[in-house]
């Protein structure tokens, strides 16, 4: 009788004060990820494991510039990438060009021999916005329960571009030099952002 009473009492106690909680795995993962998110560590891995290898997916700059000149909307449909709803879209682009101008915050390239017109402009000043985060299609907002984490990636990626990519670009950017680049362009206003294409590069090298 006493044993049964103790067992019942224990059962009631455990009901109200359980020794453990069963939590769905996706929810558990989410709370761990939310608590532990480290944008610098994330971008470290993303940069080497996905971004640099992903460069092969970029559209050729000569092809893109020609497509934009022919028909902006068709070029956007074929090569552009949008995130969510709105007028902003991105191009993920790679190419080789000759430096035709060097300004304080950008380097102008021509993609064709003998031309002096700037067709693409590589940014060399402070980098803002989401060009690389959203332009490659390699990162998805839905993988980040808290959008502050997703936004922190933009700052981290932009900082890395400024520290690891732009110093080399500034060094090699002399008029007449040839530069190979891979990067992304954010198109917020088609009247100003397409001619020339303003690219945030994440790879620059002498070919």
């Amino acid at each position: 009788m006493i044993g049964a009473t103790v067992a019942a009492g224990t059962a009631v106690l455990l009901y109200f004060l359980p020794l453990f909680h069963v939590v769905p795995l996706d929810r558990a993962k989410q709370s761990v990820a939310g608590a532990a998110f480290d944008p610098a560590a994330f971008v470290d891995r993303f940069w080497t494991e996905r971004l640099i290898p992903g460069a092969a997916r970029a559209v050729d700059a000569t092809e893109l510039v020609a497509a934009v000149q022919e028909d902006r909307q068709s070029a956007r449909r074929t090569h552009g990438r949008s995130v969510g709803m709105g007028r902003v879209y991105y191009y993920f682009v790679a190419g080789t060009g000759r430096v035709v101008s060097v300004e304080k915050n950008h380097v102008g390239l021509s993609l064709h021999d003998g031309q002096t017109q700037v067709q693409v402009s590589l940014e060399t000043g402070n980098i803002f916005g989401n060009a690389v985060r959203d332009g490659t299609g390699l990162l998805n907002v839905n993988d980040f329960p808290n959008s502050q984490d997703f936004n922190a990636l933009s700052s981290e990626i932009n900082g890395r571009v400024e520290q690891q990519v732009l110093p080399a670009l500034r060094k090699m950017a002399a008029v007449g030099a040839t530069v190979r680049f891979v990067g992304c362009a954010e198109i917020m206003d088609e009247d100003t952002d397409l001619h020339p294409l303003r690219i945030v590069p994440f790879i620059v090298e002498a070919p």
């Binding site: 996706d26 929810r27 709803m85 902003v88 839905n142 329960p145 808290n146 502050q148 936004n151």
Partner: protein, 322 residues
């Protein structure tokens, strides 16, 4: 049945009645058979959210639902009570503008467990497994653009103030961080004060008055929403400093867009409350008709509104777009 056995059975009968009433409450339709949608809004004390709530109500009504709008008054306890009401009353879906990115998750989960789908509008919750979808303003990117314009207008040196929104809301920090991701790169731009005014016009007026007492020589004020921008502008006018201090807002409220066109406020970020509300209502309708294919988060781009393009905006959107 004798009197004694009736006395014994009466509590059981009473309990059965309650259970049956509870089952009736689980039906997603009113007695007339029209399914009901709840629109739960963080606060209706701000015109922007009134537009969001009204647009959600209008679209859901046009889609054939009975719609009731609930005002949480920026109070998570009131919001929780609205959800209890919605669950007990058997609504078919909730179009939801949360008060708190973390605190509101439990309410959404409770609705989900009761079989009521929830569609977040404008503000997110920090979970991707609770709501069916979240249509969210891309506050961070909008404020990156606003920050760049701020530097262009104010210059690379000067003193400024920031008025923050509700500190528990992700939008507050997405806006602030987007802005600072730009402005903090200019070390001679000094933030002399950063205070919360809870997205509220009257509070912003009060806070700005106090800030101006201690900092009469500021060059600019960045406000996390347009209601606060209006409050700050009002304080500046009263202090005779409206020509000296540049005001920046965020939201795209009609009164602010008008003041931008007149050159009195410098810029704002246009969000699209009507677009977000309509999309949420249409998603709820599709869901209730069997569709289950929804992206969890859909960011909606924010557009910079300044004196040069203010004429293209109005009525809480872009004139030709909405």
């Amino acid at each position: 049945m004798n009197r004694t056995s009736f006395r014994m059975l009466s509590p059981l009968i009473f309990l059965l009645c309650i259970l049956l009433a509870g089952c009736g409450g689980g039906s997603p339709a009113t007695p007339a058979g029209t399914p009901r949608i709840a629109v739960i809004i963080s606060t209706l004390n701000n015109p922007w959210f009134v537009v969001l709530g009204d647009a959600a109500k209008q679209r859901a009504t046009r889609l054939g639902y009975d719609v009731v709008v609930f005002d949480s008054q920026n109070d998570p306890a009131k919001e929780a009570s609205h959800f209890e009401n919605v669950i007990a009353s058997g609504y078919a879906a909730v179009l939801f503008n949360p008060t708190d990115a973390d605190g509101s998750i439990a309410n959404v989960r409770r609705a989900k467990e009761a079989g009521i789908p929830v569609f977040c509008m404008d503000r997110e919750i920090n979970a991707t497994d609770a709501a069916v979808s979240q249509i969210l303003s891309d506050n961070y990117s909008g404020c990156v653009a606003l920050g760049q314009y701020f530097v262009k207008q104010v210059g690379e040196s000067g003193k400024y103030v920031e008025l923050l929104g509700l500190v528990g809301d992700n939008n507050t920090w997405n806006r602030s961080k987007g802005f600072h991701s730009v402005v903090d790169r200019y070390p001679d731009l000094k933030m002399v004060s950063q205070q919360s005014a809870d997205f509220d016009r009257a509070k912003a007026l009060e806070v700005m008055e106090a800030i101006l007492q201690a900092n009469p020589d500021i060059d600019a004020v960045f406000c996390g929403n347009d209601a606060m921008a209006m409050g700050a502008y009002q304080a500046l006018v009263a202090a005779g400093k409206d020509k000296q201090v540049k005001v920046f807002g965020f939201d795209g409220a009609d009164d602010v867009v008008k003041l931008i066109a007149e050159g009195k406020i410098v810029a704002t970020g246009m969000q699209f409350p009507k677009l977000m509300a309509r999309t949420a209502a249409e998603s709820a309708d599709k869901y209730l008709k069997g569709d289950r294919d929804f992206p969890q988060k859909t960011p909606v781009a924010v557009e910079l509104v300044h004196r040069g393009n203010a004429g293209k905006y109005g009525d809480y959107g872009r004139k030709e777009a909405e």
